[in-house]
């Protein structure tokens, strides 16, 4: 009888000793992410770094897209849909403008003073009517009231890496949809894009963008308001 009770006692005791390790875990911070309800991974510890050049979510900087449909053509699963409209002869959406690429990676859009064809690398450049953007994937909405104010800025010759002239737009995209639920991240479309406007995000946001509704995964990149508003305001600015 004595032995029997001691056996029970020992059984319970050893389990408790083992449980101490488990119970200690109750007071540790959580490692598990309650996915999909918590998906703001940036705020969490133990997040893997996404390497540069990772093939994540597609992003189209639609301002640079020329609607050439090469990406639509190469896509093996046909998940890109593009429709464009050409304006009647003589009409254009905005006048030509310049993009100044700075050596620190920034790009500034505006109109260069003087003849933009004759700029030499050593010259300092004065830009009027500018908006600036950073990196290839930041959205620029140059039509926001703050973006179109007539600002002027001067850059010295060694700040600037190159100046590009953008021609007037005579073509606009009615639709540029990418169905990210079909996409298999092969990257063929980004490779063929002649203006390098279609890119893949290599950040956490480009990896984790899950949605509860499948239709939310159809990304629409066309910006109708850009064209409509851009028409008048850019024309004003050029006057």
């Amino acid at each position: 009888m004595d032995k029997y009770i001691r056996n029970i006692y020992r059984g319970v005791y050893t389990v408790l000793v083992g449980m101490r390790v488990t119970i200690r875990q109750f007071f540790e911070p959580n490692v598990t992410h309650q996915y999909p309800y918590e998906h703001d991974f940036e705020k969490k510890r133990n997040v893997r770094e996404i390497p540069k050049g990772y093939r994540g979510q597609l992003y189209n900087r639609i301002e640079d897209c020329i609607g050439c449909k090469k990406c639509e053509l190469i896509c093996p699963v046909d998940c890109i849909t593009i429709t464009g409209t050409k304006l009647p002869k003589g009409e254009q959406l905005w006048d030509s403008m310049n993009v100044v690429h700075l050596k620190d990676g920034r790009e500034v859009i505006g109109i260069v003073d003087g003849d933009d064809k004759k700029i030499k690398s050593a010259d300092s450049i004065t830009l009027t009517n500018i908006t600036s953007r950073q990196g290839s994937q930041e959205v620029i909405d140059r039509l926001e009231p703050s973006g179109v104010e007539n600002r002027t800025q001067t850059f010295s010759g060694d700040e600037v890496s190159r100046v590009v002239t953008r021609n007037p737009v005579v073509f606009y995209l009615d639709q540029f949809d990418i169905d990210m639920s079909l996409c298999m991240y092969c990257g063929l479309c980004t490779e063929v894009c002649p203006t390098e406007c279609l890119t893949m995000k290599d950040t956490l946001a480009g990896v984790e963008y899950s949605k509860f509704d499948r239709s939310d995964l159809i990304f629409k990149f066309d910006k109708q308001e850009m064209y409509n508003k851009g028409n008048t305001e850019e024309a004003d600015a050029a006057d």
Binding site: P51, G53, Y54, C68, C186, G187, P194, M200
Partner: protein, 398 residues
């Protein structure tokens, strides 16, 4: 019908192994006819993961099809990419630059390591050795970070292109790979300690699923399974493709052709692959990674922006009827993938899309040899044999 009758009398039992079974790694099925514990008859069934990859080749153009090859042997997609583009390049009769060949070999050997590591982990796990699984996955994870940085994706790499590769190695790739290769033999030693002289492991694998050299050749086994049977045949040595004739390595062979020998052969192959990787890194030439033929590869961006020809080519390469077009004819090209001979047979009608692409996957032929290895054995050996063959369902069914 027959089987059902006999089952009713209690003499034989028909056991369906798979399609859903933890040890099948993918959906495949083996119907076993059992007498007690021993296997009287084994009938492998393929087709549970049919994906239509071969048919897709008939309407995807040559560059688009690379994406599909990732998904065949999903344990070593880089080897598949390599094998496929090599077949198309031989059909086009072009030679890629030396640096490109070396990069491809480097990636193919690293993916061989990754494939063998995964095989090692799962084969051991099926037989109950859990720590080996964790050890091999720890190493495999390092490789996958290298793949991720090089290609932009962990699994669906799509790294090669007709006439080149997607992009050059990233800065610091050499150090990463060297660090991995230098530490790897030490890590593999742990597994050797755990398994190689382990009584249980030896009992479960020695003499199990053995096949003689003649039978192995007759069944069309290739790769580690053939070499384990004692035939020193390796396509990298026998018909060197790309730059494999410039590296030295040994071809390990077994004697009995059983599961244990397949294990030993694969373990040694990993060490040999490390040697190849080191040689490739030491001799990595400089230069371009793509052929400079604008009819085949995309001109680089500065060319496209700076010259009208460049821009025209940049567009034409993508357009149907102006891009990569193979001459009329047919070609078979075999490469040594981690599992064995991976062949691509392309019939071209002279257009930008293949008329027919036929793939010779190693797993398909290994799978058909299963009855030979299983019949007469015990039912528990099925798991050991299937594990040792490394049948990959994606490649089996295409």
């Amino acid at each position: 019908m027959q089987g059902g009758l006999e089952r009713a009398t209690g003499e034989k039992m028909v056991l369906s192994f798979g399609p859903q079974h933890p040890a099948t790694h993918g959906t495949l099925r083996i119907v076993l006819e059992l007498d007690g514990e021993s296997v009287l008859k084994a009938t492998p069934h393929a087709g549970y993961l049919h994906t239509g990859f071969e048919k897709l080749g008939e309407h995807l153009d040559y560059n688009q099809y690379i994406v599909v090859t990732d998904r065949m042997n999903y344990l070593s997609p880089l080897s598949n990419n390599f094998g496929y583009v090599l077949a198309v390049e031989q059909l086009l009769d072009i030679e890629v630059p030396k640096r490109c060949q070396y990069i491809r070999i480097l990636m193919a050997e690293l993916s061989r390591l990754a494939d063998h590591l995964l095989w090692l982990g799962t084969a051991a796990l099926d037989l109950g050795a859990f720590s080996v699984f964790l050890y091999s996955f720890r190493e495999r994870e390092k490789l996958y970070s290298i793949f991720e940085k090089t290609t932009g994706a962990r699994l669906t790499t799509s790294y090669t292109r007709i006439g080149g590769v997607l992009r050059d190695l990233y800065a610091g790739c050499e150090e990463d790979v060297r660090e991995f290769v230098n530490n790897f033999p030490k890590a593999l030693k742990e597994t050797h300690t755990l398994l190689t002289r382990n009584r249980i492991w030896m009992d479960r694998t020695k003499g199990v699923g053995s096949i003689s050299a003649d039978d192995a050749i007759n069944y069309g086994l290739t790769g580690p399974c053939l070499r384990a049977a004692g035939v020193a045949h390796d396509i990298r040595k026998a018909e060197p493709y790309s730059s494999y004739d410039e590296v030295t390595f040994d071809v390990p062979v077994g004697t009995n052709g059983d599961a244990y020998d397949r294990y030993l052969v694969r373990m040694e192959e990993m060490i040999q692959s490390c040697g190849i990787v080191t040689q490739v890194l030491d001799n990595m030439p400089d230069g371009p990674v793509n052929v400079e033929n604008n009819k085949i590869t995309m001109p680089n961006k500065s060319d496209a922006y700076g010259h009208i020809e460049g821009l025209i080519h940049h567009f034409k390469v993508v357009m149907d009827g102006h891009g990569v077009e193979t001459p009329k004819g047919e070609h078979y090209c075999a490469t040594e993938s981690p599992n064995g001979e991976l062949g691509f047979y392309i019939v071209s009608d002279g257009s930008g899309t293949a008329y027919r692409i036929r793939i010779r996957p190693p797993s398909f032929l290994h799978f058909q040899a299963l009855p030979h290895m299983l019949e007469g054995g015990m039912v528990s050996d099925t798991v050991a044999v299937l594990g040792s063959l490394n049948v990959i369902a994606g490649e089996l069914d295409r």
